[in-house]
Symmetry: C2
Amino acid sequence: MSKPLSFQQVILRLQDFWAERGCLIWQPYSEKVGAGTYNPATVLRALGPEPWNVAYVEPSYRPDDGRFGDNPNRMQMHTQFQVILKPDPGDPQERYLESLYALGIKREEHDIRFVEDNWESPALGAWGLGWEVWLDGLEITQFTYFQQAGGYALDPVSVEITYGLERIVMFLQDLRAVWDIDWDGTRTYGDVLLQPEIEHCRYDFELADVERLTQMYDLFEAEAKSCIEAGLVIPAHDYILRCSHTFNVLDSRGAIGVTERATYFRRMRDLARQVAVAYAEQRQRMEYPWLEEEIQNRKSQIAKSQATALDSPAIFLLEIGTEELPASDLDDALSQLQQLVPAHLDEARLDYDSLRVLGTPRRLAVLVEGLAPRQRPVEELVKGPPTRVAFDSAGEPTKAAEGFARKFGVGVKDLEVREIDGGEYVVAVNRQEGLPAVDVLPALLPELIATLRFGKSMRWNASGVAFSRPVRWLVALLGDAVIPFQYAGLTCGRASRSSRPQDSATFEVARADEYLDLLAERKIVVDIDARRIIIAEQAAKLAASVGGTIPDDPKLLDEVTNLVEQPTALLGHFEEEYLKLPDAVLVAVMKKHQRYFPVVDGDGNLMPHFVVIRNGGEEHLDSVRHGNEAVIRARFADADFFYREDSKKTLEEFLPRLGTLTFQEQLGSMLDKTRRLEKLVPQLAETLGLSAKETQVAKRAAHLCKASLSTKMVVEMTSLQGVMGREYALKSGEDPNVAEAVFQHYLQYLAPSARYVPIKSRPGLIVGLANRLDSLAGLFAVGLAPTGSSDPYGLRRDALSVVQNLLAHEQPFSVRAGLEAAAALMPVDVFQESLAAAQEFVVERLRGVLREEGFAYDVVDAVLAARGDDPFRARRAVEQLAAWVARDDWSRILENYARCVRITRDFEERFTLNPARFEQPAEEKLYAAYQETRAQVTLQSSVDQFLTAFLPLVDIIDAYFARESGVLVMDEDADLRENRLAQLQHIAALTEGVVDLSRLEGF
Amino acid sequence: MSKPLSFQQVILRLQDFWAERGCLIWQPYSEKVGAGTYNPATVLRALGPEPWNVAYVEPSYRPDDGRFGDNPNRMQMHTQFQVILKPDPGDPQERYLESLYALGIKREEHDIRFVEDNWESPALGAWGLGWEVWLDGLEITQFTYFQQAGGYALDPVSVEITYGLERIVMFLQDLRAVWDIDWDGTRTYGDVLLQPEIEHCRYDFELADVERLTQMYDLFEAEAKSCIEAGLVIPAHDYILRCSHTFNVLDSRGAIGVTERATYFRRMRDLARQVAVAYAEQRQRMEYPWLEEEIQNRKSQIAKSQATALDSPAIFLLEIGTEELPASDLDDALSQLQQLVPAHLDEARLDYDSLRVLGTPRRLAVLVEGLAPRQRPVEELVKGPPTRVAFDSAGEPTKAAEGFARKFGVGVKDLEVREIDGGEYVVAVNRQEGLPAVDVLPALLPELIATLRFGKSMRWNASGVAFSRPVRWLVALLGDAVIPFQYAGLTCGRASRSSRPQDSATFEVARADEYLDLLAERKIVVDIDARRIIIAEQAAKLAASVGGTIPDDPKLLDEVTNLVEQPTALLGHFEEEYLKLPDAVLVAVMKKHQRYFPVVDGDGNLMPHFVVIRNGGEEHLDSVRHGNEAVIRARFADADFFYREDSKKTLEEFLPRLGTLTFQEQLGSMLDKTRRLEKLVPQLAETLGLSAKETQVAKRAAHLCKASLSTKMVVEMTSLQGVMGREYALKSGEDPNVAEAVFQHYLQYLAPSARYVPIKSRPGLIVGLANRLDSLAGLFAVGLAPTGSSDPYGLRRDALSVVQNLLAHEQPFSVRAGLEAAAALMPVDVFQESLAAAQEFVVERLRGVLREEGFAYDVVDAVLAARGDDPFRARRAVEQLAAWVARDDWSRILENYARCVRITRDFEERFTLNPARFEQPAEEKLYAAYQETRAQVTLQSSVDQFLTAFLPLVDIIDAYFARESGVLVMDEDADLRENRLAQLQHIAALTEGVVDLSRLEGF
């Protein structure tokens, strides 16, 4: 073994490697940037049509990642090596893998994976789709097809490869701590960078003056604007970078609230967009000097069909070879193919026996057995003259028949007689024989592929085709014949490729029926169900080998199944000391970050093991394990650092820091919000009838509920805010009920999948309600209601949580009253209009929930129009109304009520009812029945109670309107008429405050 | 010929080259820096004792150098490649030359020179000594021994090598414009950097908001301070860099006045010092982790002398081999050696026949002919008892003689008798034979070398020795014997080195007498006078070949002579179009920047030719010429750009811009100053009796005198402010007298060497006076008088100019009155104390001038005590007084005047003189004579007038005091006494306001 490369040798090798492959070697930027992307050599050069290939080092500053040098893997500064290939050269992944080879990382000895990871920078108005590249579980590179920058759709798309140099070198040198990296054969990374790291952390987290940095930000922004106005792209961009870094430092100082963040992002994005526009226009004015001769459109015209038509059914294969598909896109694609293939074949009149849809991250495959050699034939009938006209009495064709036959190109003899619409006509039968399948498929297949849709799709080359990830090869065989077509710049053939660990080597598929065997030879498990079973079995076996089991987690299993095509499980271990960390943290790290299966013992306690599913075979498993263990160790070390740091204080001691965390400029800090919650919670507790003890718990929970936002663990992993709030509360010696309430107040909705969370805390419900009512009342009041697709403050989620928690707890509650109570505590004026809008906003979420639960929209509308303010009672009403609507006699009930409404609804005036003026017995009878019903109905009545009470009226109303009753409502006598209308108005009004039946279908 | 290296290939080669030689490869910094030096990898790592070797690229931003991309060579951003070698490896120049070789630049094909260029950064409290490296006249590298940083003396010293990458690549690719550089084989430098260049220029010069940037500066500074307080070195340094860049932009915007600049520099320097202290302390606290085992002190002890003593006189050679000495240091060294060698030999009692002191930039040589083989012997006499005591009557030695002889270790027989001070004594003669020269020289030579002093000297290695530049070899031979000694870490021997173009190859000097022949063989002209003649002849010959001559310029000739050891002249040419530029500009560029000899025609007009003296032979002269022509073309293009830009406006149109150029915060802008001068000038004109026309000219000149400070040419080359003011005034159609006055008001003193400047403008004098009186009155008033060695506002120069211009114009003028007039126009209160201090400050300059002119200090003091306020009249008085002092009878004159003063000076009371009370004729006579003298003397009397009038009094005073006169001044009778004292007081007072004779020696 030769000595591993030093840090600087890795850089020099990468520079040489990419320079030899046509990249311009560029330098790190003269401003502090968060990533190489922000260097103008990426973010600006990616714009516009000109080609651009560049490579450079970029020391990247992310203040938030600072750990005071205490963490062996996380630093506020890390070093990227950035490569941009524009346009896509067609094989960027392979080039990248070659560059790893140049560093001594051989793909055959490791598990190198492309794991979905998309990239978005709100500050730059930029996004891209791609992967993180995993090297034995270690993320070493970000690989992105850059789709948009500065709000511009990129055409052509740039391939952006961002190497994490420290990670790679640590791997090469087999180190646990970045500080031990050999830089140049003499000095270590820590020698030169540890002290600056510690100092930057101290500055970013503790020293930076918030007031001064805020002023700097404003000055930078003002200069950026003035540069943009003057069309100065680079100076403007420099100032945006300064804004961005200053923002990041402010953020590390904890000076940026959730709402402020959105504002800052918007400001930066606006600037970035304008700079992008300015740059794009500049290049256009310069007439794109780098634009080379248009790349020759080498669409070699292939002959219509080279394949000979078959005469018997055959197996058909379509394989779409792709770069690694995201797990969910793979699922989407397979289920769409399951629908689309039959539909397309059917429409094309191609019969078949059976169909299999198969797939791995790198291939989507369709196998059709017994595909008919030709389309089913069709007959077209053209109606001619009636028989009596077409034939003379002798039965000979007339001139009319001859003319008709001539016109439609058939012989007179071929005319047939058919009965059409009860008459007899001659018809010309236009029988069309089906085309051979080999001629139909070349058009069908590209259309089929183009029909696939993904949550997010991307473009990558000049074909302009959009797909989940780039399509790199196509195989389509009917029997042994290639079905020739072109798609996404590719020509279909019989060449497929093996898996990544096999170097994606090309192999030929001679006949469609060999396909599965060929894959099996290459250990590729193309059937997703088979793969899932293999993985589950392997994992269970490994867990059992240490006396453990894998907790049931279908979501994780499904995801992992979609990440490999050649699955091999291995068992990894980590230091037992980390087991002292909260389970939620460990599990979150293992599952979310690494897609490892946790292993638990008989009591459900975590064990210091995990199962990794690698993509590849049994070779070099030890080195793959070694790598994966190093990764999880690093991640746990990180979490451990937060946990230890946070544990130095009680949860309550984190409270004051909330004063520097802005909730929203006008609504104050998170501490101000906490103070409001402390006042609102007792009011809600009384409304909801909590016990004194529960109220006490809720008040304390309100006091502490936001404190975890100041802890390092939560700053790092926001999703753990509830879990860590509870954990730290317990460690601080708080009442366990308080801790539980702190946890539960965050819960979005109490779904059964929240397996660590038994739903039981009424105090948690109250604090959660208070929290969300405060946000809704406050943010609507200051004009920050969600608009269109924009909801920066997550108010939809808040409103939805209000609804769902009340439903889950079966808790009657007036949202309006709650909002009013919250409004009374606001530091700003809350006007009725904004309160009403907030209430309506909650009702809309309720409407959505109820519809999703499957209730008919009219039933939901009918109830919500009357009582949307109380979600729980509304749902009960909906359930009841739905049951009524399902009754056989419902249309009669509704119809009779509707008669009363319809005849009266055009009169605005409420007429006076005078029973003395009744003329007919039907009127008397109706009045008596009405009074009986009326007595049973109140505003509190349930829909059931109301309709049960109303039911006796149905027959009576029916009789009232019957001709026999002698009652003509619209009598000529005005008095009489108005008295009758008055009576019907009373009946119509019975539903008021209960349900608006007029919203129902059929009304 | 292979294809020249691309820009990025040059970088990759340099990285590889230095990495292979033990350098850590570092990255450009994440802030905008003016040079690689500012990267912490240099400015901080250079501090302290730890070794450090590093190399990195550094895009360097210097807003002031921006030319809107219009200039083919000057940009606000250029790319440095920085190397730090700490400690000095002993052969850094050779390593550097090897790195050029790695780039394909072969020293044998070019003229590669190390030309003195020292480096100083006030902002960093840093300086170093070294060179610019010239490649065929093109500056391609800065090579510095870094002596101080952050106010710290560096130990060890760092070698700092800064490659100018664009220059080098342009040379390699033989380009005229930086924009044409091939970057990567596809794109040019202009492709990627021209547009950003233009934009940065527009921002820096036109758009940057002065108010906002000033605020940024203050915020950055405040953060830097807070970081320093917290001991955060790197964050503090980052902010200092931001301060520095912000300052540079403000400066480009013309927003920084002369006095403001000094303040900013002080602020930045203070911060830089504090950061340096913090870093140094930090490393010390860390106990210098990189400090390797103390480099073994390999002072191999050499035996006292290996050389055998000679027995006849021999030739002695000392050669001190150095890295390139600055021209003036070479002169200094040679003249010191001329003094020191005889003095040292004499003191060492080593006789010799003759001495030659020789030298080139790389060697100082001393050749001594006929050096005695041994020291002259010495005799020491020890005086013993008198002869009469030492010998008895029989002439035999007594016990006393025996005791004396024993005590001093001689035999009694050896005692000698000598006459001493008129008596006879026995003496012991201690005769010391001289030591062999070979034993004396080893101690003498290092002492001799150590005695050499230079204006600025430097250290470079652990020996701690200071010299002009590093000493790299030593040769000392007496005949054929090496005189062994050590100095500066070197051991002396017989190995000398050839010239740079000959690769500094080592050669052995067998015998001292071969030395000159060996050098001659190597074409090295070691005799400075011979070299001067060769150069002058070669240059004249080449000039003649195009029909021109070289204007006489001994200073330039001397300098050039000191820059080469192997001189070969070549004739270069430039485009005639540049001749349209003012001669002063062209000459300044050729001489100051390039040390080229201009060529003029018969009328003294510049011709489009120049003469370069290369260091080296006739080989590859064409390529050397080609390079030098490219350089001058580039420099002229730069000047041409300024000239064209400036010429777009009239001079007057540059005035408003002065409003943004601060003179001093309290004293306003340069425009404010201009307004004051416009008021002050007419007052002075009246005082000095200018004609109405002259006054008109002076007023207009005052209006325009500072305008050129806003022009690009002057911003670039401040020394041209007067020349360009005149030039642009003429081009703007101003009266030529006005233009001339604008020019002349700047002149420091009207020395004859200012050959383009006939002294004739009285308006120029007035404006110059006004300008300087304004500065003196104003800056003293706001407390900015020079202190100690600090004179940031150049007030010494201003005061000196006031003095010298008045002297040169023979113009009587009251400085006090002038200062008062200037003070009256100030926007601040000017107190009497500060005016008096300013006046005294001018008097002190006058004192210095007069003393330098050779007048005796007492004569000067005597005059200045009485009439220092008027420099011209003071000098006349000094001249006259000096003539009087030189008279034979002067002591009598002075003595008699002095008698009058001495006897009266202890009386504070002024007694009343009553001639009626005279008692003796001598009194009467004295009184009559006094009255006659008195009548001739006024405050306006010259010293001559006064002394002539006083002369008749001398005899009379003498007689008065003679015993014979019967006058006893200190008579017992008080009345009589006081009357006599009164009379003498009147005589003593005659000098008042004319001259203070009491200051004279002998008084």
